[in-house]
């Protein structure tokens, strides 16, 4: 979808502060049908922003509308919106199906059983629907919560960290489901603190850092901007000096340094190539790799580059 489509969700100069702490600072954007990813590190203000969009919290300043209506104090609007909060608590005494049917009834769905069948099937939880939610794994709980959020076939889905606790296969299924919903013209807003979760899913990304909208637009443009920043990776091996000299010869390496404890710290702009090459070089030179880990894998460090840049 292009930005020329009419905005379904409109956020205008919205801010939220708690005393002297500013959680969201003057954020504006519009969301059209399709999948939009809200990306940012933990504590960036994503959940606070979503709560204001969902009507769970009053903005300190600015306005939010969904379909032109203010969500706060407007329960009728929720018949068109499905929401999955970051909080994973559920009514443990309900079975998965009871939980989805409960949601359907509260949404005023007429054929509760059929709606629950469809939503549970779409979430891939048909087999486990008769079990108590309290006995579900985290990933199963997430999927059943997703089924409950979409049981009334909402036009807008707002999902806060929906992939927490899910395994790779469930993530692929989730992506397929979201794309299917988007192809039906639905508006899906998905938040995550993991770039890889969002970049392959969303048509458009909103990047939040420290309560501000740091960047927005096509994920490729944002990814390219992210890729301009070198990543710091620590390489621990049984021959740090040999490893360091091998790394220096590799392409895409900005710098290599040796820490006092013998660990090698590498600065690279292409972390994927680095990961592949380190293993290959170590194997070729008979070096035993003990650990390869990014030192700044938190998005905060990556995003700070964009914000400051």
């Amino acid at each position: 979808m292009t930005d020329a489509s009419p905005a379904v969700i409109s956020v205008e100069s919205i801010s939220k502060w708690y005393g002297s702490v500013v959680a969201v600072n003057d954020v504006s954007f519009e969301i059209q049908p399709g999948i939009t990813g809200l990306l940012g590190p933990n504590g960036a203000g994503k959940t606070t922003l979503l709560k204001m969009i969902e009507g769970l919290s009053d903005p300190s300043d600015g306005t939010v509308t969904i379909f032109g209506q203010t969500p706060r104090g407007n329960p009728d609007l929720y018949s068109r919106v499905g929401i999955m909060s970051e909080h994973e608590a559920v009514y443990g005494f309900y079975t998965g199906r009871e939980f989805v049917e409960f949601s359907a009834r509260l949404h005023g769905v007429t054929d509760v059983s059929e709606a629950a069948d469809i939503a549970i099937e779409r979430a891939g939880m048909a087999e486990a629907q008769g079990r108590k939610l309290g006995g579900y794994s985290r990933g199963m709980r997430q999927r059943m919560r997703l089924a409950a959020a979409m049981v009334h076939r909402p036009e807008v889905l707002i999902l806060d960290e929906p992939l927490n606790g899910t395994d790779p296969r469930q993530r692929i299924e989730f992506h397929d489901l979201m794309r299917h919903l988007a192809s039906e013209g639905k508006t899906v807003l998905v938040s995550s603190h993991i770039l890889e979760e969002v970049e392959t899913l969303a048509d458009r990304i909103l990047l939040m850092v420290s309560g501000k909208l740091a960047a927005s637009g096509d994920y490729r443009a944002i990814r390219a901007k992210l890729d301009e920043q070198p990543y710091t990776v620590r390489v621990v091996s049984d021959s740090p000096r040999a490893m360091a000299s091998a790394l220096v010869e590799m392409e895409g390496i900005e710098s290599v340094s040796m820490a006092e404890d013998g660990e090698v710290v590498v600065l690279s702009k292409n972390v994927e190539v680095l990961q592949r090459s380190v293993a290959r070089v170590a194997s070729e030179r008979g070096i035993r790799l003990l650990r390869v880990e990014p030192l700044d894998e938190s998005l905060e460090s990556v995003f700070s580059y964009i914000v400051e840049g």
């Binding site: 709560k51 969902e54 009507g55 769970l56 919290s57 009053d58 104090g73 329960p75 009728d76 609007l77 929720y78 018949s79 919106v81 929401i83 909060s85 909080h87 608590a89 559920v90 009514y91 005494f93 409960f102 949601s103 009834r105 509260l106 949404h107 005023g108 409950a148």
Partner: protein, 240 residues
């Protein structure tokens, strides 16, 4: 609304909570049975029984504490578990949510409290009129307290602690010794209903009551005011 009502009943029917309220509500009956067993001639319906058992123990203590234990959890549990948003993010008016919560609290608490009071009163040989009067007054008291403590559970996670202070100080101490407080006391309303319906059997309460119509207006008013505050809070609060 029926869905939230049923959900709340399931949430509130925790084993320990049920055991606690049944135990508390049974205390008057257990005491009466004990007295009947030890000193049968002392287990009779007289003004001592009215003052000590009905006023001080049941209306002053058991009724508010049992209702508080249940009502404060109606929203308190949802806030603690962070499940309240499942209700808030639905196309349901806040009035319906509040009504379902208060109704579930009342339905769970009233039978236990009323049964405890009525059985104890009947066991000491009170006439049917006195027994029915006790039942009606307790129903009114539970309704008012259910509304108060449901609201309290929504505004503070320490509803039980604050509630206990309120019950002991305001309802227990101040409403006993300060006449004016009785106009703002659920205990005062409940005692006044007892005396207003059956002045003969409950004559010893004469010095403790306010006018019968004032008691009715007070009990209904408290229930309505706190119900209004509850739904207002639901509309204006930041939902965790």
């Amino acid at each position: 609304m029926a869905q939230i009502f049923k959900l709340t009943l399931r949430q509130l029917l925790g084993r320990w909570r049920v055991l606690l309220i049944v135990f508390l509500a049974s205390l008057p009956t257990l005491i009466v049975l004990l007295v009947k067993w030890q000193n049968p001639w002392e287990a009779k319906f007289d003004q001592d029984f009215v003052q000590v058992m009905i006023d001080a123990m049941i209306i002053g203590g058991i009724m508010p504490i049992v209702t508080m234990t249940v009502a404060s959890a109606a929203f308190g549990n949802e806030l603690e578990d962070r499940t309240l948003y499942y209700l808030i993010l639905k196309p349901i008016s806040r009035v319906q949510i509040a009504l379902a919560k208060v109704a579930a609290t009342f339905v769970l608490t009233a039978p236990v409290v009323v049964a405890g009071g009525v059985v104890a009163t009947a066991l000491v040989g009170a006439d049917a009129g006195a027994v029915v009067t006790v039942g009606i007054a307790l129903l009114a008291g539970v309704a008012a307290y259910a509304s108060i403590f449901t609201w309290a559970g929504l505004i503070t996670p320490r509803a039980l602690s604050y509630g206990l202070v309120y019950v002991l100080v305001w309802e227990g101490l101040l409403s006993t010794f300060l006449t004016g407080i009785r106009y703002l006391s659920v205990r005062g309303y409940t005692l006044s209903l007892l005396h207003g319906i059956d002045a003969t059997n409950f004559e010893s309460l004469e010095d403790r009551v306010i006018a019968f119509p004032a008691a009715i207006i007070g009990a209904v008013g408290v229930a309505l005011v706190f119900f209004f505050l509850t739904q207002y809070r639901l509309r204006t609060m930041d939902v965790p």
